[in-house]
């Protein structure tokens, strides 16, 4: 028993000894043994529970006290020391601010877009439902399902709790004289329930509202309520005019709900950032049940029941759909169901871009850290004397490390504070460059959580950058005040690392820039300066005849404007996601109908939009009544291989008796995306269309205002979105522009950081080698040799960096290959350029130190020693 009691005391004393590690090493070494003595003595005389209670409190307070007092004295010391080297301090602060600012700003983007949850409850349970059909080859699978089928799914599904159907569109909000275009969605009664959105005022839709013939009601977004109705509660029950009909406002949606947002729907363009108004779909009985001809289709988003997965829902709905297929005409059977998680659809395309950007700023931060580490190493080398004295006076190694870490942390936290300010500015800049189509992009901000990340990054930076110099400086060799080859080797390694990283970034940026230039040099098949616009007619124009009358009179009026050289109408404007496809049969190319793009165009349209005619002839006004067609080059190459397309015959499915004759071949028009090749396209003559192209001799603004007033004179309720094709190209390329400019900017920062590091190192080396160079000069070495000696050292370091960087870049730039246009991720020209550029500027960075080495005075250098 006695033995076990003493063993018990022993282990308690051991625990106390372990707890002593809470104290600073210096204090522990000085008093640890004594403290343990005191503890043991008390252990023998006092109740253990009370001793431990007191010891815990005592230990916490006194350890903290000791640490704080060391910190205070270190900070005081370092602040004084840093004030003596303002240049060094300023550079370290700048480099830290750049690294932290870049990382934090991009992180706040990633946070806003990818990490914060979407503005719907449990978005992970929401799925988009699509209905691809094997008959539509060449079309994307994201085809909205047929409404009758959705009603069937609704009554049979066990995996889905509710279905929301919706049709995005635009309407005009008329308030007195002002007309505002509003992104509107017609939605089913369960829409708000499915997305789990509550009203902040009034109610959302109910089943009664969704009946045809019911009073017209509308729900508005909070944003619209505030911006257009001053947030008045009296809006409830009030009437608003949409297009030409009056609607009763029954509710205001909560928060920042605005589904569908732009970028929410992969193949439907939403012209505004978000939807601001919702009205009931109110399908008729026939629309809900009729599967013949062209059945009604709608976008569908559904909420999975708890525990159900999207793949389970997909297979269940496919089973149901396989039975429903028999209700369709034989040639239309083959419907399937595709369930896609909403989060995946919305964020999938931007995820890679944002993670890549985050990786890029991570590399920039790494370069910054190595740069700071290099600068600190140089500083500790020049402080070797001071540190040597401190060691000689009895300072412990841990104490020196601690002091140096305090310095690097002081610098990194101060730099981090500047970095946060920089991040604020950068986030503003990013938002101003918003490429559109990225959810919640404009909500990015440096908030309290981001600040937490910034502080953590600053501390990590300080520790990472300070550790190597602190270890090196506290090594016995430095302590003895000797020459510091270890720290030197460390700096060389850091510079090689920095150059390697900047090669990676510059190669990535180089590839993106080259790809961007490739894209700019693509001939889109139309003229960028052409003004284009589209006019949708509403219920005021109920018949096709009334459409024809309006469009033809507008076309005639436009053509009569002096200064408008060519004016044409068509069924689509390139780059507006408004493409029409049809099956056609090409004589001499087999019986299988081919799915091709079909465009209708008036005679002057080709000249107005600026598509070159490669062969044959253009439409004349008399072609409108004929079956003559134009085809594009891709069509000619695909379906008239090795034979003359002119005079070839084509017939569209559904018009069995009428063969059309090819009269001309047009250049390919990139009408989907500048980066995507044109599809085989058939151009049929039409007398009018809803899309207009105007080539004018007038300045753009003047021409646009002429068009606007002409349209208004015909019908003041119509609105037009007039843009040059150049603007449409820019909008299509916005995301590429964004990622290219940001990556390019960061790569530039990285290269500058690496070069500053190299320059600093070489200057420092020259200073370190002053005596050696002095001796060389004294024994007769020519100054040119000294020059090449230093230059060669710099070039050798750069070359190591180049080799490592090149290998890493070849591995990493593969990640970019999906973004590259007509360019391989291993494009030799880009890599050669990057290597030469880095080598060139690295040489330039070494020139000044090398030159200053030749100016060393041998006598003075030797005397110094």
């Amino acid at each position: 028993m006695g033995l076990s009691k003493s063993a018990w005391s022993q282990s308690q004393a051991k625990l106390f000894r372990a707890l002593l590690y809470c104290y600073p090493a210096e204090f522990r070494h000085e008093y640890g043994v004594e403290m343990e003595h005191v503890f043991r003595s008390r252990l023998a005389h006092e109740p253990h529970w009370r001793l431990w209670l007191e010891t815990c409190g005592d230990l916490t307070l006194s350890a903290l006290n000791q640490h704080l007092s060391i910190l205070a004295s270190d900070l005081k010391h370092e602040l004084r020391a840093l004030r003596a080297v303002p240049g060094f301090t300023l550079i370290v602060l700048l480099v830290t601010a750049l690294g932290i600012g870049a990382a934090v700003s991009v992180f706040s983007l990633v946070d806003a877009v990818l990490l914060r949850s979407l503005p719907y409850a449990h978005p992970e349970n929401l799925v988009y439902l699509y209905a691809p059909n094997s008959h539509y080859t060449g079309l994307p699978s994201e085809i909205p399902p047929n409404v009758p089928d959705v009603y069937h799914w609704q009554s049979l599904s066990r995996t889905i709790s509710s279905f929301a159907m919706f049709m995005p569109g635009n309407s005009r909000l008329v308030q007195g004289d002002s007309v505002t275009p509003i992104a509107t969605a017609a939605v089913s009664a369960d829409f708000f329930k499915t997305l789990d959105v509550k009203p902040i005022l009034g109610r959302t839709l109910n089943a009664n509202d969704d009946q045809p013939g019911h009073e017209l009601v509308a729900i508005i977004s909070r944003e619209l309520w505030v911006s257009h109705f001053n947030g008045r509660p009296s809006i409830l029950g009030g009437k608003i005019q949409l297009n030409r009909k009056m609607y009763t406002v029954v509710g205001v949606a909560a928060g920042d709900f605005g589904f569908p947002f732009d970028g929410d729907l992969p193949y439907l363009g939403i012209s505004s950032r978000q939807t601001d108004l919702w009205i009931p779909l109110a399908y008729s009985f026939q629309q809900k049940t009729d599967r013949n001809g062209h059945p009604e289709a709608a976008e569908v988003v559904a909420r999975l029941k708890p525990g159900a997965t999207s793949s389970a829902a997909q297979s269940e709905l496919n089973t149901i759909e396989s039975h429903l297929n028999s209700l369709y005409a034989p040639e239309m059977q083959g419907w399937r169901v595709l369930a896609r998680p909403l989060v995946e659809t919305i964020l999938g395309p931007v995820r890679q871009m944002l993670w890549t950007l985050l990786g890029v700023v991570g590399l920039v931060l790494l370069i910054a850290i190595s740069n700071i580490a290099g600068l600190l190493l140089a500083r500790t080398t020049s402080r070797a004397h001071e540190l040597g004295i401190r060691t000689a006076l009895g300072a412990e190694r841990a104490r020196i490390i601690r002091q140096l870490l305090t310095e690097s942390l002081l610098l990194s936290c101060a730099g981090g504070a500047f970095g946060i300010a920089l991040a604020y500015a950068l986030v503003r800049l990013f938002i101003s460059l918003n490429p559109g189509g990225i959810p919640r992009f404009e909500q990015a901000s440096v908030d309290i959580r981001i600040l937490g990340v910034a502080v953590a990054l600053s501390i990590a930076t300080g520790l990472a950058a300070g550790l190597l110099p602190a270890r090196a400086a506290s090594s016995p060799r430095v302590a003895a005040g000797r020459r510091v080859t270890a720290t030197h080797r460390g700096r060389f390694a850091l510079i090689v690392f920095e150059i390697a990283l900047s090669i990676v970034l510059l190669s990535g940026a180089g590839l993106l820039i080259r790809s961007y230039l490739n894209l700019q040099s693509v001939n889109p098949g139309f003229s960028p300066s052409v003004l284009t616009f589209q006019i949708s007619l509403d219920e005021h124009y109920p018949t096709p005849q009334s459409h024809d009358i309006f469009y033809q009179s507008l076309l005639a009026k436009l053509q009569a404007v002096p200064g408008f050289k060519f004016v044409g109408a068509s069924t689509e404007i390139p780059l507006t996601n408004d493409l029409g496809f049809a099956e056609c049969e090409v004589e001499g190319y087999g019986q299988t109908p081919q799915l091709v793009q079909v465009v209708g165009a008036t005679p002057e349209y080709r000249q107005a939009i600026g598509t070159p005619l490669l062969r044959g002839r253009d439409f004349t006004p008399t072609d409108g009544k004929t079956e003559n067609v134009l085809i594009n080059k891709k069509f000619s190459d695909s379906y008239f291989p090795g034979r003359d397309a002119i005079g070839g015959r084509i017939r569209l499915a559904g018009t069995p008796a009428r063969w059309g004759t090819v009269i001309g071949v047009l250049a390919d028009v990139r009408d989907q995306d500048i980066a995507a090749e044109a599809k085989p396209t058939l151009v049929a003559p039409v007398e009018d269309g809803d899309s207009f192209a105007v080539r004018a001799d007038l300045p753009v603004a003047q021409a646009a205002s002429q068009i606007r007033s002409l349209v208004r004179s015909l019908d003041p309720a119509l609105i037009t979105d007039i843009k040059t094709m150049r603007e449409r190209i820019a909008a299509t390329n916005a995301r590429r522009t964004f990622q290219t400019s940001i990556l390019g900017g960061f790569a530039l920062v990285a290269v500058i950081l690496a070069l500053v590091g190299l320059y600093g190192l070489m200057s420092f080396t020259v200073k370190q080698r002053t005596t050696e160079i002095g001796i060389r000069l004294a024994i007769g070495a020519p100054r040119s040799r000294i020059f090449t000696l230093i230059l060669w050292q710099g070039v050798r370091l750069t070359a190591y960096g180049l080799l490592i960087g090149l290998a890493a870049a070849l591995l990493l730039t593969r990640l970019l290959s999906g973004w590259l246009f007509q360019l391989k991720a291993t494009d030799p020209l880009t890599f050669a350029f990057v290597l030469l550029a880095i080598l060139g500027v690295a040489c330039a960075a070494c020139l000044v130190p090398a030159w200053s080495a030749t100016r060393i005075d041998a006598v003075q250098a030797l005397r110094r020693e």
């Binding site: 043994v33 403290m35 003595h37 005191v38 503890f39 007191e54 005592d58 230990l59 006194s62 000791q66």
Partner: protein
């Protein structure tokens, strides 16, 4: 001299060393005995005080020779001695407290 006035804990340590040199545990016991156990200095607080008093020159460390040690005392222990400066600081504190007490009396607190 310290920049700040003595804390009551530091004062207790100085009083404990007024009569004879003591090691840490001795100081602790002395203080506890004089205050009827109301002030028990933990090891960390105690050596924090000792470090501070040493830096301020109010006490010094002394190594006892084997001969001067009584049999039960540990020769590895460090002992502390009040310096004349420490004595002056303690006296200054005493007169400060005394003054305070007189003022309190004059105002009828005691």
């Amino acid at each position: 001299m310290p920049d700040s006035p003595l804390t009551s804990q530091a004062f207790h340590v100085l009083i404990a060393l007024a009569v004879r040199d003591q090691h840490g545990y001795g100081i602790m016991q002395d203080v506890a005995a004089r205050t009827q156990g109301k002030i028990r200095l933990g090891a960390g607080t105690l050596y924090g005080l000792i470090k501070r008093l040493l830096e301020d020159g109010l006490i010094v460390e002394v190594r006892k020779t084997k001969r001067s040690l009584k049999s039960e005392e540990d020769d590895r222990r460090r002992y502390y001695r009040l310096t004349s400066q420490g004595r002056r600081a303690a006296q200054a504190e005493v007169s400060r407290l005394n003054e305070l007490l007189q003022q309190a009396r004059a105002h009828g607190f005691v």
